[in-house]
């Protein structure tokens, strides 16, 4: 693509990333959540592939790293759920809610503007799902676009 598009993509990529992470982090109090935030991040990957070529992007974003993100996300999710067994509670029990600390601020009854440090294990699971979808959906996009045929002369013209 032209230099203009590449420049715009360079600027937009971190913004897309941060917006996606914002959706993930606020998943338990605003619309959205892990999956939606992860999908937004994956669109950032799609953006740079469109702006640059597949070969360049695969050098920056390794498939191994994305695969690792997928596994870490999934393990985090089931790990948070399994951790409840250590407290002698059922699977998926929310052992952090209302306990104080980073995730466990008790929620006041009735309408309130929304406190970020609430939700117990719910934000943790959102993080896990966000990381998983980041890796998984980016991999899907990479595989889908790996078949793109590049026109040689056009690429020379662009660079």
């Amino acid at each position: 693509m032209s230099k203009l598009v590449r420049f715009a993509a360079d600027i937009l990529y971190p913004v897309v990333l941060i917006f996606g992470l914002y959706i993930v982090a606020h998943g338990h109090i605003t619309p959205g959540g892990g999956f939606q935030g992860g999908a937004v991040i994956a669109t950032g990957v799609a953006l740079v592939i469109v702006a640059y070529s597949y070969k360049e992007v695969i050098g920056w974003i390794g498939k191994g790293g994305l695969m690792a993100r997928e596994v870490i996300g999934l393990m985090g999710f089931i790990g948070v759920a399994l951790f409840a067994f250590l407290f002698g509670m059922p699977f998926f029990y929310n052992y952090l809610a209302g306990q104080g600390g980073l995730f466990g601020v008790p929620v006041a009854f009735g309408p309130n503007p929304g406190e970020l440090n609430t939700g117990g294990t719910v934000p943790l699971m959102n993080f896990a799902v966000g990381i998983e979808v980041w890796g998984g959906l980016s991999l899907v996009i990479l595989y889908l676009l790996s078949g793109l045929i590049e026109k040689k002369d056009q690429e020379e013209e662009g660079s």
């Binding site: 695969m67 399994l82 059922p90 699977f91």
Partner: protein, 524 residues
């Protein structure tokens, strides 16, 4: 004897262990293939043991509830919710436990078999990840008591199955079969989701017991019923929605095909659950019963007649799978048609349903076994074309024995398990309507004829020169087949024990809607 932890948390572990195994499989696959095999086999063994423990608990203590995220697993209704079960609940009654047993047995045999049969392929950590996801999907579908959760597990199962069907790309043919399966399951899943939306809009509930409790049988409910029956009958491969089965079953690796049979039966379970637990007597039982019977008869006849001309051995078996699904639908349909008429239920309704449900177990055993033997032959000679086979009985003696057991069982020959359930279906259906019983018997004879032909063309005749060096299948494959074959023989020799301890409680749990509702809502 059994640790308290497993005893209480068995329903959750049933899904948690295969999921954990699936997610860690890609990492462990990086260490070494041997470590991966041990990991996958161990995970499946533990899951199967947990499933059997859970089934034992259900058959001794009655329905087991497991409420995810609650303070106590049995606390289905939160104290401050006003009597509505809002959490996801696993409601494992006798019918669910029965399906759990099937999934545990076939899943373990198929994994054991796959350790040898797939060893020559690449990308195996992904194969096992998908396989364990399928196991988790089936366990979730048959155990859950929340209808949206049922949809989630149905999707997990469909995605993983589509991936595993496409696993051996095979010049794109397998991918085509997978896309066909994937598109159809997605359409089916949307129907299921739409039906869930109808229930949720009307009854403000997703919990199965709550929907059943509030069920009114309005015209919207009938629309939901049509969508669910169409979608789930498609997923279990009933004619006229059977066209994905031959492609999917024949192109998937054999160990996965054996488990795909169980996956279809999980959809069959969903169908029965909807008919009996959701609607029960609010339905016009005779009409819907006859619809199920006609679906069954069509599946039986079309399946077997399409099977006879096939030349691909796995495609042929896939059509037989369609045909055998018809028997289950026939048995359950007859039970449904006389539901609510207690004298008729006692005289033949329960027996027809016992036959239909028992046939699910038997079908999973012998059809799984047949697909595994076909896989063993493919593993050794590299073709599925019947015209190119011959004389393999000289070298593959154990495979031949297992094939005979499977073939005789599917044809309903006396000492084997297929006979036990088919006899129950024949006898009870004959009282209901003799013509249906005659059709069922004719289909059985055609099945026998078809398998005699297959047996002859695979194993009989002189040794072919190109297969002179063929060896017996490797030990893990023989062990996997052996488990299924020995169970097929044992269940055939002692059918009455199986029927009284497993099948009959399952059928009564299915028909007794009030007990299901009371187990979750506490006698409400």
């Amino acid at each position: 004897m059994i640790p308290d932890f497993i005893w209480t948390n068995a329903p959750a572990l049933l899904v948690a262990i295969p999921l954990l195994g699936a997610f860690l499989c890609p990492i462990i696959g990086k260490i070494s293939p041997r470590a991966r095999n041990v990991w996958v086999g161990g995970i499946m063994l533990v899951t199967a043991i947990v499933a059997l423990i859970l089934a034992y608990r259900v058959f001794t203590d009655g329905t087991v509830l497991y409420t995810f995220g609650a303070a106590v697993p049995g606390l289905s209704i939160p104290l401050d919710s006003g009597g509505i079960p809002i959490r996801i609940i696993f409601t494992v009654d006798a019918m669910s436990a029965f399906m759990d047993i099937i999934c545990a047995i076939v899943g373990f045999s198929a994994i054991l078999y796959s350790l040898a049969s797939e060893s020559r392929n690449s990308g195996l950590e992904m194969y096992y990840t998908l396989f364990l996801l399928m196991v988790a999907g089936v366990f979730g579908m048959v155990s859950t008591g929340d209808f949206f959760n049922f949809f989630v597990f149905l999707e997990i199962l469909s995605m993983a199955s589509a991936g595993i069907i496409a696993y051996r790309v095979d010049g794109g043919v397998a991918v085509e079969a997978a896309i066909k399966y994937f598109v159809l399951s997605s359409v089916g899943a949307i129907f299921v989701l739409f039906a869930i939306g109808i229930y949720y809009g009307q009854y403000d509930a997703l919990n199965m017991a709550m929907i059943a409790y509030r069920m009114q049988g309005s015209s919207l409910d009938m629309i939901a019923l049509v969508m669910l029956v169409a979608a789930l009958a498609m997923k279990c491969g009933a004619v006229p929605m059977h066209f994905w089965t031959p492609d999917a079953y024949s192109m998937a690796p054999s160990s996965a095909t054996a488990f795909l049979v169980v996956a279809s039966q999980a959809s069959l379970y969903g169908l029965f659950r909807v008919l009996f637990t959701f609607y029960n007597l609010t339905l016009n039982a005779v009409t819907v019963g006859w619809i199920i019977i006609i679906l069954g008869i069509l599946s039986m006849v079309v399946g077997v007649t399409m099977a006879i001309p096939q030349k691909d051995v796995k495609r042929l078996m896939a059509y037989h799978a369609v045909s055998q699904t018809g028997y289950m639908l026939l048995g359950i349909g007859v039970g449904l048609a006389v539901l609510g008429n207690q004298p008729l239920m006692e005289s033949f309704g329960y027996m027809a349903m016992n036959g239909g449900v028992f046939h699910i177990l038997n079908h999973a055993l012998y059809k799984g076994l047949l697909f595994l033997t076909a896989g063993a032959i493919f593993y050794r000679i590299g073709t599925r074309n019947l015209n190119k086979m011959g004389g393999l009985g000289h070298n593959m003696k154990w495979t031949m024995v297992f094939f005979i057991i499977g073939a005789l069982a599917i044809a309903g020959i006396p000492p084997l398990n297929g006979f036990a359930s088919k006899l129950m279906i024949y006898e009870s259906v004959f009282i209901f309507n003799p013509i249906l019983a005659i059709i069922a018997m004719v289909v059985s004879i055609l099945t026998l004829a078809s398998f005699v032909k297959v047996f002859h063309s695979i194993f009989m005749g002189p040794k072919l020169p190109e297969y002179a060096e063929v060896k017996e299948a490797p030990l893990p494959m023989l062990l996997g087949m052996g488990i299924l074959a020995s169970l097929a023989v044992i269940f055939g020799l002692f059918p009455d024990i199986v029927v009284t301890t497993l099948v009959s409680p399952a059928v009564h749990a299915l028909t007794d809607q009030a007990a299901y509702i009371a187990s979750v809502l506490g006698g409400a």
